[in-house]
Structure formats: C-alpha cells, structure tokens
Amino acid sequence: MIEWFTFAQIAVAVVAGLLCIVLGFAGRAPNDLTMGATALVEVLLIAQLVVAIAAPAFGNTATGSVPEFYTYLVSAMILPIAGGFWALVERTRWSTVVLGVVCLAIAVMLYRMEQIWTVQLG
C-alpha cells in the first residue's frame, strides 16, 4: 500500500459516506451524486488492488498477514456492488443511507488494511 494513496482513499470514503448518510436522512433517494460517490470509492479500491498486487515488485511488501489483507480488500470491493445493486432495487432514502454505511465501512476496512500492511507483524 502507498500511504498517501490510502489516506486519500479513506478521506474520499468518509466524505462519500457522510454525504450519503446526510442526504439519505434528508429523504433523498439514490441519485447520480450518491451513486457516483460510491462508484468513485469502488474505482479507487480497484486501483488499490492493482497497487497491492504490483507493490512487492517494487520492494513494498506487507509486514502483516497477506491473506487477511486481501480478505479485507476483496470484502471491501464487494460492498459497493451490493449496495449499488440494492440502491437500484429499492429507491428509497434508506438505500442512500445504506450507501453511506457501505462507504464508512470501507473507510474502516482501509484503515485496517493499512495497519496490516505497515504495522502488524507476521
């Protein structure tokens, strides 16, 4: 993982999450803004996957458990797809809130992934 990129992702995920939750509680159904924000989080996660796979070739290896890292990453990547699918099926304010919850969960997962990559041992 690349530290600045990870923290940029976390920032995007937190902003997207809060945006969706606020708009959801304000009564908005999923729209281009909220779906787009979630899609952006997903795109960044895909980039993160590429970075993680390529990193060891540049001498950047995880200090912690690689299986655990990829479990978090793959789980995180599934979430926006499931949330986005749900938002298309049920176009209510709560679907927007769910998108927000998904983005915040991803922010937490990214933080855990950063821990596993740089702090955790073995």
Partner: protein
C-alpha cells in the same frame, strides 16, 4: 378456489430495517472473512478464540438472513441469534476485561466489540428493538 395470498417476491424489510440488515450483512462479511483467515493460517495460536470467532460469524450470517426471510420460524431464529450475539458480546467482553489471558487474540466480541468500533455491542440492541417494534403480518 381462492388463490393463496402469497406476497409478491419483494423484500419484506422496509424503511430503517434496511439499514439494520445492511449493517448486519457487512458485519457478517467482515467477521466471516477474518475468521476464515484466522482458522486457515494460524489456528494453533489461539484455537478457543478463533473457534469463537467462527461461531460468531455463523451467527451473524444467520441473523442477517433471518431478518429478511419471511415466516414465523425465521422470526424466532432472528430473536435467538440476535439474543445470542448480545449475550456473547457481553460475556466475552466482560471475560476479556477480567482475564485478558483467556483471549490473547482479538475476537469480534473482545472488549465488547472494540475491534469493530463497538458495533457488535450496539447492533444486537438495535436488532432486538427493531424486532420488538415490527410485528410481521405473515405469521
């Protein structure tokens, strides 16, 4: 002969319940993933803790499914699994405080769900509250 009054194939959970199911689903996903990794890579380090995590993960999956599945049986399963989780997080939380050696490695219920932003503690309370307040019509 009258047709049976089966509901159309639409999700039964409405409103804020959707958010509850979503959070349960995410927690189930996270707990299961972590448990699978723990058991397949380092089970011998803390077999009790990792088995506990596995049981918790299965219970979370059941809880998530039972919240959306229709029928009285699933409703009972929802009550049982969510109560079990609440008991689990309270008991394990207390034990991990009183005797940290018992759970040297973090499980989803250690420290009252500290490793998961205390969501394992708050979520079953919300789940039980939601179950109590939303009587299902399809008994």
């Amino acid at each position: 002969m009258p047709l049976p009054t089966t509901a159309p194939a639409r999700p039964r959970v409405r409103g804020v319940g959707v958010v509850l199911v979503a959070v349960y689903g995410i927690l189930a996903l996270a707990a299961t993933g972590r448990s699978v990794v723990q058991i397949t890579t380092k089970f011998d380090e803390a077999p009790l803790a990792y088995l506990l995590s596995a049981v918790a993960a299965v219970v979370y999956i059941l809880a998530t499914v039972s919240l959306v599945a229709p029928g009285a049986v699933w409703r009972r399963i929802a009550w049982a699994t969510i109560s079990f989780e609440l008991a689990g997080v309270l008991i394990v939380g207390l034990l991990s405080l009183l005797d940290p050696e018992l759970f040297p490695h973090d499980t989803v219920w250690s420290g009252f769900g500290r490793g998961y932003v205390y969501i394992p503690l708050v979520l079953p309370v919300l789940g039980l509250w939601w179950l109590a307040g939303h009587r299902r019509t399809d008994k």
